[in-house]
Symmetry: D3
Subunit: 223 residues, 6 copies
Amino acid sequence: MKAVIKLGGFVFSEDRPLVADYVKLLRDFVGEHHLVVVAGGGPIARAYINAARTMGIPESLCDQLGILVTRLNARLLVDGLGEYAFSEIPVNIDELKHYFASGKIVAMGGLQPGHSTNAVAAIAAETISAELFVNATDVEGVYTADPRKDSRAVKLDEVSVGRLTEILSNADISAGAYDLMDPLALRIIKRSKIPTVILNGQDPQNLVRAVRYEKVGTKIVHD
Amino acid sequence: MKAVIKLGGFVFSEDRPLVADYVKLLRDFVGEHHLVVVAGGGPIARAYINAARTMGIPESLCDQLGILVTRLNARLLVDGLGEYAFSEIPVNIDELKHYFASGKIVAMGGLQPGHSTNAVAAIAAETISAELFVNATDVEGVYTADPRKDSRAVKLDEVSVGRLTEILSNADISAGAYDLMDPLALRIIKRSKIPTVILNGQDPQNLVRAVRYEKVGTKIVHD
Amino acid sequence: MKAVIKLGGFVFSEDRPLVADYVKLLRDFVGEHHLVVVAGGGPIARAYINAARTMGIPESLCDQLGILVTRLNARLLVDGLGEYAFSEIPVNIDELKHYFASGKIVAMGGLQPGHSTNAVAAIAAETISAELFVNATDVEGVYTADPRKDSRAVKLDEVSVGRLTEILSNADISAGAYDLMDPLALRIIKRSKIPTVILNGQDPQNLVRAVRYEKVGTKIVHD
Amino acid sequence: MKAVIKLGGFVFSEDRPLVADYVKLLRDFVGEHHLVVVAGGGPIARAYINAARTMGIPESLCDQLGILVTRLNARLLVDGLGEYAFSEIPVNIDELKHYFASGKIVAMGGLQPGHSTNAVAAIAAETISAELFVNATDVEGVYTADPRKDSRAVKLDEVSVGRLTEILSNADISAGAYDLMDPLALRIIKRSKIPTVILNGQDPQNLVRAVRYEKVGTKIVHD
Amino acid sequence: MKAVIKLGGFVFSEDRPLVADYVKLLRDFVGEHHLVVVAGGGPIARAYINAARTMGIPESLCDQLGILVTRLNARLLVDGLGEYAFSEIPVNIDELKHYFASGKIVAMGGLQPGHSTNAVAAIAAETISAELFVNATDVEGVYTADPRKDSRAVKLDEVSVGRLTEILSNADISAGAYDLMDPLALRIIKRSKIPTVILNGQDPQNLVRAVRYEKVGTKIVHD
Amino acid sequence: MKAVIKLGGFVFSEDRPLVADYVKLLRDFVGEHHLVVVAGGGPIARAYINAARTMGIPESLCDQLGILVTRLNARLLVDGLGEYAFSEIPVNIDELKHYFASGKIVAMGGLQPGHSTNAVAAIAAETISAELFVNATDVEGVYTADPRKDSRAVKLDEVSVGRLTEILSNADISAGAYDLMDPLALRIIKRSKIPTVILNGQDPQNLVRAVRYEKVGTKIVHD
């Protein structure tokens, strides 16, 4: 199966047992699945963005610093995967297409200011005609509201793009603060009807469940 | 004044008197204004996109073909501007920042699939801390509805980002079909409160009016 | 067989049924033939060159605009060919050699001002030690004179490089106006005795005939 | 004065008041001094290197991850310096020479596995024929022994390259663990007799003292 | 005056007093003239080409090796010129245009297989709209025949492009063996009516004479 | 076996029978061994460095000229090896890793000023986790002193890194004058315990002996 896996920045946080776990998991997928893995930025990205914002640097350049951290995280994946990964990190869609044609796992980070690595993952999924896009976040899936702020929030097993757009419509896009999916990601998922699952990546086994089409997290449904 | 000018693809259409007119106008601005000019794709972009879509090529790659046409249009501007323009076309935000630092006019096209050159222009405006972003389209400004489809549509002199988002919320994002502003452009304009004017670029004098802060087209107002 | 196919710009003209036909044909060649396909510029290249020349831009830069259109045409081929094509367009001979080593079809456009994509195709043929170079033009082959201007022109089945040089010696090299073969192409064909056929590419089946060594168009013979 | 300033990774540590202080200081130097600033990696580099080493990644690739962090730190400097800095980070000596010719401050990180950013700074000093190379570390200067391990260590006001080589001869070169100067840095300093000062960069005013040729830290003397 | 100077490979031959002489001369021109200097390959290029040809390497790749030597020669010029030269060597026409806009001397070598550095110099002259193109060879100018082979050869003070084409029509284009001007150079000179002088560069003072429009070598005249 | 072969610059000297011999030998190794071949600079590098030094060019830029010659030598190897070699020359460690993953022979030259191509070869060996690093020099191996200067010098069959460091400790690092191993090479060999043999490459059969683990030259032993 051709799939895109977005790994949230938390996977690369300082005490980092998770990145090694994911490297092991991804190696097991080789042969069966052909993957693009998109790395998020996490706390280190936020630290650089905050340092930059404090100095009055424009938002788009703060975004760029965050993107550099996501590429650093992608590089750690590439090095850990060794011969199973394509050794370069794509920085545009042409490169992604080119590197993916090698048959190896391609790891990448952000591409451009103004949108999240979720949007990057959606564009990647469109480019490789992915059969599955898994967004491995640090929450169980899509809730009717932000579960960190609202205790009445209920997790949804399935959600339409329209409904999800509504739920997320108040999300803030200042650099580093995107959540779950940004509007650009949603529009791409919608225009190419990309099969998408949002799940909790803190347990790597959830990813195994997703590629086996077992019920996990929240599935985005298309009409 | 630091400003970003988006020139719609119609400026570069085959019978092309407009591109030469704009080159002349932009040369006159040198000294007074420091500009980034973003070129749209127009009918040639649409022709390539259609040819590609007919062959079943993924949407993101159709977008890429359109982007190549926008860069070709930008190159025509650069060649026409001669020594007044930076001789390279930036293909990412780092290059834009770098080339703009030369003090010359920077011309560019699209950057990435999934969003319009309007979003590119907004990100460029954010990056250079532009005092003005002019979107030179082929309509008079923002209407309460699409004036090509609805005869009751009324042109607005001013519009808030929120109101404009609402008006444009049904826009189609299949490659080459963006209108006026796409959601990413709007979010960037909003987060950095970029002073923005949408006007009719079929009359180049409208651009002169905009940089003189005369009333023309539709102004986006921030709270 | 290792071969270089030059597709004249007419293949990519706006109503474009031909590009899809050629994509289909080239896919069928995979396995049997290993190809470099060089795209010409055609009417869109001429339109950009004319726009540039009108603005007084130097000839070499007009050539460069035409080259960008040939690369755009090559990109359309690459996207249409999908996994059968190498995903990048070479812009110099080192890249050509590198990309061809992938075993995939390599599509490319022009390389440098001052000579035609026919010369590019000849250099490509030399670089890959091609067994055949097919120049798919919009005429039946080489005539004793320009058939569009002289009704007494007779088509030749075979022609020596010396004779062809003579026939073409009055060709104009202003950007975008090359015909059949330019002097540089001829000198390369001569120095490396490249087996070459010039044929009418408006019928894609002529290409099939050429790779089967059937009699078609005009063959360039070496002593 | 043409000078190279090496800023140890501690300048970019998470609570980071220092990077903003240095940005302010460096802006004040513009006009009087023409600078190359080389950023170290610090704790974030060490965290990535450790994560990589845990996964059994070769030392040279661990070094590369550390280099990416140094470039990220350099980027933060560039963004903070705004128009005073050249907007690109050089990744080889040709680029350094090229970017320095702009007359702006050039910020850079590491270049290659196997040696420290101190060696990079020494090569940069040689390339621009620097009149001063300041190594801003987190200790007061060169001691007769490692002051963190040996309480009898005495700070030296001046030291010859030969003596310093001896003192540092037991330094470990596993990625991220270089101290003060590595052997390559020393050999470059020696062959081109580069005027060098090692000082405590935790107080940015020490840098001001060094460029005024006031007594601070440890000066490397040449015969 | 904007001018292009082609320095034959003999300028860079092993005992090399000439390169230092030319560096001195070119520095003196700064302020008065804005130059592109194109370096030839000379004996070292021929040595590499011969080694390659002996191993049966295709002609176009032999050409490429020769081109690398011309760029090495150009680099020696750049390093010798220091701050007076642009620090990068252009490898295509876009880069030439870009680097020339810096106002500094641009040094370059070959660009592409199949033609000489004389053709490169002609294209460069066209690109920068040069007022003079000086080809510094190791002969006094154009003779009615090859003076090294025919003792009756007479030097011409002026020659038309047509006549020169005739004289050179038997030149061999195997890699590294071009003489004076190749056909592509001649066609470029003709199409853009580039004022051109061919002179003996073994005496650098001849270059001084040429830029002062004094009578020296052979002048190519246009109708 | 994965191995790195360093070929001293003498292999590429003007009368050059050796490069063709090595190309033949390396082709025979394909299938059995996966190789990185690092080319030295030799007399041509020294000639360019001397010319540069005479003009007062900084040492690091003299080094860069020497590096360009090593890359030219590597290119000759690549062209001679044809389909057995990766067609591009890596210029940094990321590219080396990337090109080596192709399964083809990778040829390269120097990377950065300040150290020899021996250090490059050591870093390459570390990067690919080489089982053997062969340094093919123009002497029989490591002597107790420089055999060209001291007739009492005795060749060693084995030597520890510590002892070798001592022997070489007086080596001069002015550009182009490195011998056998420079300190950086030694430190890399030591930190990753790279199995290393120094032998006389003037007889290519010595290389065959080394890859068969036969006794030849001097072996570096690790504790």
